[in-house]
Symmetry: C2
Subunit: 162 residues, 2 copies
DNA sequence: TTTCATGCAAAGGTTTTGCATACGC
DNA sequence: GCGTATGCAAAACCTTTGCATGAAA
């Protein structure tokens, strides 16, 4: 079976299909974007670091290890492009900088739990929201394409420490 | 009955109790913060503009009308203080700037629907999420204090226009 | 060869900070 | 009067842009 498989964090709800580097590159190619080593290096960063929430600066630092001549502007331009192509999505964790994450079309229900004490970000996948979305569409006529859900609170470790 | 009452936007689910300026000022006073005209002016901005999502610059512009000598740094410092005191909460609408909103403890279930076409932000209150939160706490031990939920899609107007 | 992508540096925008002054209590 | 809050200006960040060069197709 083709594709990289990752396990959903937090709980054992099965396996989620992920795009490979080749899939994304052929998408770029079809749209007449060039496959440069910089773009590949940035893509690899996300594919290797799945379920992280990287800022542009963090991507820059990671990519610089393998590709020291890359410029920060290229990182920003590539991230913008990948968001445009829906390969990545922007998220915000409240620290005044945009963060990026692989856009998992297959795991649409992807939420963050942010600990107010230690700052740890956990993920949680759940499809219960589907009911809420249906009710919302019925009542308001708003057609939902995507969502972002953040829970703020205290993680089990911090709760235990008090 | 004391308190300012506002109607929940989007649908007619009743009236929600809101904090008055006096309530918040007495909270400041109790914590030994000084009641300055600048702080009052900023608070009034949020109380008068309920259900808006103001950036620091927007607050600055509005307050300047009544209080032209105010500085932008004061606005930032006051907003930080009010977030600290849980009078306001930070939200992010994806436009690279922090926005602030009255923290409605009583209407905990407060979500945003952001139109990908026209950028309109509607609000939606719903308590269905309670079930999801309970399931999440049971499974992960994460104690939820607050949440932010964003739906991205197309509002009824934009959907009709296509 | 043509066109697009890159790197650098500068500029733009938002948010924070240092410090002397002003003001609430 | 004491101690905090303010205004101003500068600095610190994050992000975008212009332009000459370099590399992909």
């Amino acid at each position: 079976m083709p594709g990289l498989y990752i396990q959903a964090p937090g709980e054992n709800i099965g396996w989620i299909m992920k795009k490979t580097l080749e899939d994304i590159c052929s998408k770029l190619q079809q749209l007449n974007y060039k496959i440069t080593p910089q773009r590949q290096a940035i893509l690899k960063t996300f594919i290797n670091k799945i379920s992280e929430h990287l800022s542009a600066e963090e991507v820059y630092t990671i990519v610089k290890e393998d590709y020291p001549e890359i410029g920060l502007a290229t990182v920003y331009r590539t991230l913008d492009l990948l968001v445009e192509l829906e390969v990545l999505m922007k998220i915000n964790l409240g620290d005044n900088r945009t963060r990026y994450e692989l856009n998992q079309h297959d795991s649409h229900y992807h939420h963050h739990m942010i600990c107010l004490n230690c700052g740890r970000v956990q993920e949680f996948d759940h499809d219960l929201l589907e009911t809420l979305e249906k009710a919302l569409t019925q009542k308001t006529g708003f057609q939902i394409i995507d969502h972002q859900l953040k829970f703020f609170g205290y993680c089990s470790d911090c709760k235990a420490a008090t």
